[in-house]
């Protein structure tokens, strides 16, 4: 059928094809075209990241949070936690303690100027005191366990040793998590029962102008049930408690926080900074409510305060109570 010449042509054609096929990769190499060489580069990706962004990709395991490959902002969180927070905490808390100590040295204990009357007036009923101590008790443990998480390694671990300290911190963490709920209830109750007496008014300006009489003996600006200083404490507790509750909520329920680890970093930072300020404010509150002022503790202790104390610090409130007939003969009080 086929002639020798046509066979030759066919053979040549086949050979040419083989040569051409073999030459193709060689030609590609000469052009330096290698599709696999073109790839994402870690360096470029890292440099292109903006603040708070992460290198993420696709992952085939069910845990989609694991799709985050590198999150450089962990470093900033570390710097905050290791360097900035101890500084903020140290300055604010030690500063407050120092200020209170100085205040005590200069002013001493604020006495009842006219001396105890020997009769008392009911300042806080059981519900008031319950709410106060529920919140204050939880706050104390929350504050101590919280400070322990941030500064315990620095201050307590060297004294206790790793095992004992770890046990303490572990129980502290459990207490911190669970006491947050009664604390939140306390804040809510406090708001409900005291908010109407804590609305700022014109009278408060005068109180503030006179420094609340804190800095001069015998000066007692007029005040209703709560003076301006106490109103400030009330609002610090309310807004501070609210902010601590919201930020803490996401730390309690970490899988509810949108944005995963980045948002948790923001919440922990906020929680820590607010806590330091909150604790400093409460140190001042606790000081003036106990050591700092004669007769003040009774308000939250027995709920019965000395009539002269009440007249000096809450003159308008006493007048109101007397008008209502709540202060009759008064209750005799045992000698201190």
């Amino acid at each position: 059928m086929s002639s020798p010449s046509s066979f030759l042509i066919t053979a040549f054609a086949a050979l040419a094809l083989v040569v051409a096929l073999a030459a193709t990769p060689a030609a590609a190499q000469n052009n330096n075209f290698n599709p696999t060489a073109q790839s994402v580069k870690e360096d470029q990706l890292l440099n292109a990241l903006k603040d708070g962004e992460r290198l993420t990709g696709r992952i085939s395991i069910p845990d989609q949070k694991a799709a985050s490959l590198i999150q450089p902002e962990g470093r900033e969180w570390r710097v905050f936690h290791q360097d900035k927070l101890p500084l903020i905490g140290g300055v604010v808390l030690l500063g407050m303690l120092l200020a209170l100590a100085l205040f005590y040295l200069v002013r001493g204990r604020i006495r009842i100027d006219s001396g105890p009357a020997g009769v008392t007036i009911t300042r806080f009923a059981t519900l008031d005191r319950f709410t106060h101590w529920l919140t204050a008790g939880c706050f104390t443990i929350l504050a101590l366990s919280g400070l322990n998480v941030s500064f315990g390694r620095m201050l307590i671990l060297p004294i206790f040793g790793p095992e004992a300290f770890s046990a303490l911190a572990g129980y502290g963490k459990i207490a911190h998590n669970f006491l947050s709920f009664p604390f939140m209830i306390g804040i809510a109750l406090m708001f409900l029962i005291w908010v109407r007496d804590n609305i700022p008014e014109k009278l408060d300006l005068e109180w503030i102008k006179q420094g609340g009489g804190l800095f001069s003996k015998g000066m007692h600006p007029a005040a209703k049930r709560f003076n301006a200083g106490q109103k400030v404490v009330f609002w610090i507790v309310f807004f501070g408690g609210l902010a601590m509750s919201v930020s803490g909520w996401f730390l309690l329920f970490p899988y509810m926080a949108q944005g995963g680890v980045s948002s948790l970093q923001i919440w922990t930072t906020l929680h820590a900074v607010l806590a330091v300020g909150f604790i400093a404010a409460m140190l001042a509150h606790a000081y003036i409510g106990s050591v700092g002022m004669e007769g003040a503790f009774d308000a939250m202790g027995s709920g019965e305060v000395d009539l002269n104390w009440a007249k000096e610090h809450h003159s308008l409130w006493v007048a109101e109570e007397q008008a209502k007939g709540h202060v009759g003969a008064g209750h005799p009080v045992a000698a201190e």
């Binding site: 994402v40 870690e42 395991i61 490959l69 962990g74 570390r78 315990g152 669970f178 680890v261």
Partner: protein, 198 residues
């Protein structure tokens, strides 16, 4: 002693996830915990690369720095390990870790995460080497047996390298020179503050 490291040559990784599976099997890692994972960057696009990532055993590890109970320690080989007896499960290491390495056995709320778990570089924990107590908490201690981490040992394309940092860096550099490209030593800049020229 050598300073051991991990290096994932992403240009070789074929996303087979065998490292992930081998790790889970070797240490009997519980459900929901992955000490190692493979992340694909630019999936489906030209130039996509897969990277096998676990704890990088950082120099000056962030987890160790922020731990409130100081439960981390670095071995003579540069492996970052932790004590589950001391861990209180607070989650701080998770906030600070650049690589998402710390894992928690419980996804429960109320902060009940349980003790943190992470890659041990197959080097166990503070317990005595190769004891049942060590195995139960941290998994196998291959390093004590003179073996390298299982994930790198069985990597079919030899993409994942483990061992002396200087040697694996040299191997990677040679590969990049020979083939003429490399997507980078993923995580090295972040973990060891160094890069391998590519």
């Amino acid at each position: 002693m050598a300073r051991v490291k991990f290096l994932c040559d992403a240009d070789r990784c074929i996303e087979c996830n065998a490292c992930v599976t081998a790790c889970k099997n070797e240490h009997e890692v519980p459900w929901g915990i992955n000490r190692r994972r493979v992340v694909t960057i630019n999936d489906g696009k030209p130039g996509e690369r897969s990277v096998s990532m676990a704890c990088m055993h950082c120099t000056d590890a962030p987890c160790a720095a922020v731990c409130p109970v100081s439960c981390f320690y670095t071995t003579a080989d540069g492996v970052v390990l932790h004590s589950k007896d001391l861990c209180i499960g607070c989650g701080y290491c998770f906030y600070a870790c650049p690589f998402g390495a710390p894992q928690y056995p419980k996804v429960g709320n109320f902060g009940s995460r349980g003790k943190m778990d992470k890659c041990t570089y197959c080097a166990g924990g503070p317990e005595e080497d190769s004891t049942p107590a060590e195995y139960a908490k941290y998994g196998a201690n291959r390093l004590a047996e003179g073996k390298l981490p299982i994930c790198a040992e069985m990597c079919s394309t030899k993409s994942l390298l483990a061992g002396d940092g200087a040697i694996i860096a040299e191997i990677y550099k040679e590969r990049v020179m020979k083939r003429g490209y490399g997507s980078g030593a993923w995580g090295w800049k972040t973990a060891y503050k160094e890069t391998i020229a590519s």
